[in-house]
Symmetry: C2
Subunit: 239 residues, 2 copies
């Protein structure tokens, strides 16, 4: 019964902020849920192109994406930029800033978006009282590390077509996890941004996508993507 209560309360906490990543796996009592809700009250909207934060900004909060789509990028002194990730609803952004109390990358909305601000000091305090929240925070940070290692593998040892395939399949899975079609979705980023993320030039991205289309794996027209042969794409990665 206690179980049932926590679960339904959990739903409330999550529906208020869509904190898929932060809330879902944590088993909280109603009182604890209230505390988490209190923490995540501050919401803000961002228009496409707006910065959520910039490299160098003082660190204060993590952000949970309620709706929308962001990219994060690091800038080299010589102007080169590297997109380090694309984040969607339910994901937590800003973890890099804990290390130095300053953000180390830019976060930019790729479409109109809403985020919950979570003051990190409060989150730390609360997670001292709620072990399951504490552990979950650690898992989120660890998951980010694992994700980054996957990108290293991709950048360090895959060819252009494999990188694109892995990228599209990853988006597909993440849309599926949110209840959207895994086979058909809009890309929210430019070829240039895809290229930066994957360590390729935009022309290579375009050519490779055209090639995947010719071979019947995908249908792409501008930003509208359809995955025609997910299994085929997957198996082409394992070769």
């Amino acid at each position: 019964m206690q179980q049932a209560i926590s679960k339904s309360s959990l739903k409330i906490a999550c529906s208020s902020c869509n904190l898929r990543e932060l809330c879902l796996p944590v088993n909280l009592s109603p009182a604890e849920v209230a505390q988490v809700e209190n923490l995540t009250q501050h919401k803000r909207s961002y228009r496409r192109g707006e910065y959520l934060y910039r490299s160098g900004d003082r660190f204060q909060s993590l952000y949970a994406i309620r709706t929308g789509f962001f990219k994060t990028q690091v800038l080299h002194e010589d102007g080169r930029e590297q997109v380090t990730g694309f984040q969607m609803a339910g994901e937590i952004i800003g973890l890099d800033a804990i290390s130095t109390d300053a953000h180390t990358c830019d976060a930019i909305a790729l479409e109109d978006s809403e985020v919950c601000e979570m003051p990190f000091a409060s989150l730390e305090e609360l997670s001292r009282d709620i072990p399951s929240l504490q552990h979950h925070l650690h898992k989120i940070m660890s998951r980010e590390i694992v994700r980054d290692q996957g990108i290293m593998l991709l950048l360090g040892s895959m060819r252009a077509e494999e990188r694109l395939g892995a990228f599209l399949l990853n988006l597909s899975q993440r849309y599926a996890a949110r209840g959207y079609s895994p086979k058909s979705f809009q890309l929210r980023m430019t070829r240039q941004e895809i290229g930066s993320y994957l360590g390729l030039k935009l022309e290579t991205v375009s050519r490779t996508l055209s090639n995947l289309q010719q071979r019947g794996f995908i249908q792409i027209r501008n930003r509208s993507l359809e995955l025609l042969d997910i299994a085929g794409l997957q198996s082409s990665l394992k070769t």
Copy 2:
């Protein structure tokens, strides 16, 4: 006075285990130091080539490297491997495993090494009581995320020579931070491993090192490296 006591106690804690990264910046009371010491009692030695853990192993502990040198690598199903990092004394290893309760990479000693095992459950428990320890743990994880983003930048947008330059300068800094010469040290890894880490083939690593030597930036003979012109190397990265 309290300050002085903690500091000297801190020294004891660190000298016992050389936990540069875990202890140094944390301001602990003597009692707290004792608790941390208690946590880090379990030490083990590894011979060159031995595994500290393997991908898939159940997660139980983080490890602080006391002495020696490790590499971490992820394996692709098709046998391709990607070295994701080289870790030296004072660094913490195993953070990736928190996310799934299983290690996601292999950690292998590149020379005879000693580590402190830190049961993660105890670390979480202790960090609930000691806020500065909690915050420090978060910083360590965040620092790992930032490090990984730097490698993404390197892999995604630098050319072979820049990658090697950045790699050598990074090693140099880390040796300097440990009181060793920043200009002269032994590489502990093969050209192959460097190449895997930097997304290059071993022949390219060898050629690029030879080229840096010809141009007077470094002196390299097998694993013995001397950085002859650190400033020059640095400025060649900014171009």
